[in-house]
């Protein structure tokens, strides 16, 4: 080993090589703070609440509220509505957004810059403005607000997330495989279903999940266009004086299912690294 080599190996070559405890400490403190409200939610969903509102005092462990979720009037209907709207808006936005992502990523066409701009503003604009604008529009054309308008608006913001996710997936893939398929005599439609769609599938699944999450958690935009309909976030927000324990149970269930789906997705991606 030459002297020069020795010198290089002693120097910290890049940040990966440095070892100081400050960064891990900051990371774990941040994670701990992040977890505080989640832990409180999970723990207090098992606490007996004599007045049907969560209390600071621990009255004893119970599974009662999980068993009687439907006892809280409106909670179950709100939850079902949220799930239905999430799945419907997720499916529609994937069906509409996937070809749009293909068009934007692989073709030149008139109005492309405008469309990219609209998608950017769709993601960047504050929810309150998007919700207020949607309500202005529905009032102007005389469309009554309700489940339909919630669905329309959720698809509108979800399309943008689907397109961004899928464009990231498509960029850098190129069209060599499709060209090879065409050389082998595949029709464009055949090539799409046998080549392009399988390549995009992990991105489509990821964007569908993202759309589900965005839709289930949206409060601000929905509050404008909901009319008399009540989704889960609207229901929780509407409870003003202390939360009923069933709300925490529902939150805990959504948390567990979401985490499970994320872990499952991660495990599947690890098994098939090339999509």
């Amino acid at each position: 080993m030459t002297a020069a080599n020795q010198l290089v190996s002693e120097l910290p070559l890049n940040p990966r090589a440095r070892r100081r405890p400050l960064l891990p400490i900051i990371y774990w403190v941040v994670v701990a703070i992040t977890l505080v409200p989640i832990a409180v939610m999970v723990v207090y969903s098992f606490n007996t609440a004599p007045n049907h509102r969560i209390t600071y005092v621990w009255h004893g462990f119970t599974l009662n509220y999980y068993a009687h979720l439907a006892d809280l009037s409106g909670l179950w209907q709100a939850f079902v509505l949220s799930i239905v709207i999430a799945i419907a808006s997720g499916l529609i936005s994937v069906i509409v957004g996937t070809p749009l992502a293909l068009a934007l990523e692989r073709h030149r066409f008139w109005g492309k810059r405008l469309l990219t701009g609209i998608l950017f503003v769709d993601i960047a604009a504050p929810s309150i403005v998007v919700g207020a604008a949607a309500l202005s529009f529905f009032l102007s054309i005389g469309l009554h607000t309700g489940v339909t308008t919630i669905l329309l608006v959720h698809v509108t913001f979800n399309i943008a997330y689907v397109v961004v996710t899928l464009r990231a997936r498509l960029s850098g893939v190129g069209t060599a495989l499709e060209q090879a398929a065409a050389d082998l005599g595949a029709s464009p439609v055949n090539a799409f279903f046998r080549i392009t769609l399988p390549i995009m599938m992990p991105g489509i699944v990821a964007s569908f999940m993202l759309a589900l999450a965005m839709s289930i958690d949206d409060y601000v935009i929905t509050s404008f266009v909901a009319g008399s309909a009540t989704t889960f976030p609207l229901f929780v927000y509407g409870v003003k004086t202390g939360l009923p324990p069933q709300v925490l149970c529902m939150g805990t269930i959504i948390f567990a299912v979401g985490l499970l789906l994320a872990l499952l997705n991660g495990a599947l991606n690890r098994r098939r690294p090339v999509g």
Partner: protein
């Protein structure tokens, strides 16, 4: 089938023209529905909001478009409520929360990008995003529960005589800003992390070959190269926090009333649609000016590539 065979063998002019047409039409066929959806349900509503703000009338008799530009003047000058103060408060809360998220998120993203081992990286990223799996409204309500007057945090501090008997957290600007920063932290961590991951490690070697010490390498290589991530994070967090009505409503009080709350209130409770639409337009314009100025002063890459 026969059409495909003949075109493959002899390439007559007609199918070629047909194919050229197909190539020209493909993007419109692919993107048509999505474009139409976005134009009708996003672009037109944004424009219609501007028009609604210029209408006059009331909820009972309906609204007519009268190009009533004075609504904007009335909001700033003659209104009974000080909307300008609400706007200023929204911007101040949003800016403070954004700065806090940058300061907290940067070391976290740096740790994830450079210090976490490849094996645990995904798990550590998931931990940071864990709060996304809990409804935003419930999360914020849990902080209200914890920080309430009789809650465990204040009781504990009171028992230690660290705070007085009348000490409170809820209703203060600090609680609102803290809630905003908490709820949006991951929106800052992720883009900075992605930007740091993208840096070619050979650049650190090059910086050290040029006798840069740790501080110089960070400030002259790492930080400038993660600028696009910081900008993307600022876009997401600042815009979201400035418009957010939820944290001020749940964690705040009278003295923390923001423009986001005012828009919601005037639209949904007072139902003065023209005033609410004008307030919303004002927020959009204020955000546009600030972000444009930021991009001009600090410079950035192509904005559209960031999101």
């Amino acid at each position: 089938m026969t059409a495909v065979d003949t075109s493959a063998m002899t390439l007559p002019p007609a199918p070629v023209r047909g194919r050229r047409f197909a190539r020209y039409a493909t993007p419109y066929l692919l993107g048509g529905v999505g474009s139409l959806w976005l134009i009708v349900l996003f672009l037109i509503p944004l424009i219609s909001q501007l028009l609604v703000s210029l209408m006059t009338g009331n909820i009972d008799q309906g609204y007519q478009l009268t190009w009533n530009w004075s609504v904007y003047r009335d909001i700033f000058v003659g209104a009974d409520v000080n909307y300008l103060l609400f706007l200023g408060r929204s911007l101040l809360f949003g800016a403070t929360a954004t700065i806090i998220t940058i300061v907290v998120a940067y070391p976290v993203a740096y740790f994830l990008a450079f210090r976490a081992s490849a094996r645990w990286k995904n798990g550590l990223l998931l931990l940071i995003m864990l709060s996304f799996f809990v409804s935003f409204i419930i999360r914020t309500n849990m902080w209200v529960f914890l920080l309430g007057g009789q809650g465990p945090v204040l009781s504990f501090l009171r028992n230690l005589h660290l705070v007085g008997a009348d000490a409170h957290v809820l209703g203060t600007a600090g609680a609102v800003i803290g809630g905003m920063a908490y709820n949006d932290l991951a929106f800052m961590v992720l883009p900075i992390y992605v930007a740091l991951e993208r840096i070619d490690p050979r650049l650190f070697e090059a910086a050290q070959d040029l006798y840069g010490n740790q501080r110089a390498v960070f400030f002259r290589t790492t930080l400038p190269l993660s600028r696009s991530g910081i900008f993307a994070g600022i876009l997401l967090v600042f815009i979201d926090t400035v418009g957010d009505p939820v944290n001020p409503s749940l964690l705040g009080g009278q003295s923390t009333y923001t423009l986001g709350q005012a828009i919601q209130n005037v639209y949904l409770t007072q139902q003065e649609y023209n005033v609410a639409a004008a307030l919303s337009t004002i927020m959009m314009i204020a955000l546009g000016i600030i972000l444009f100025a930021y991009a001009r002063v600090f410079g950035t890459d192509n904005i559209e590539d960031l999101v």
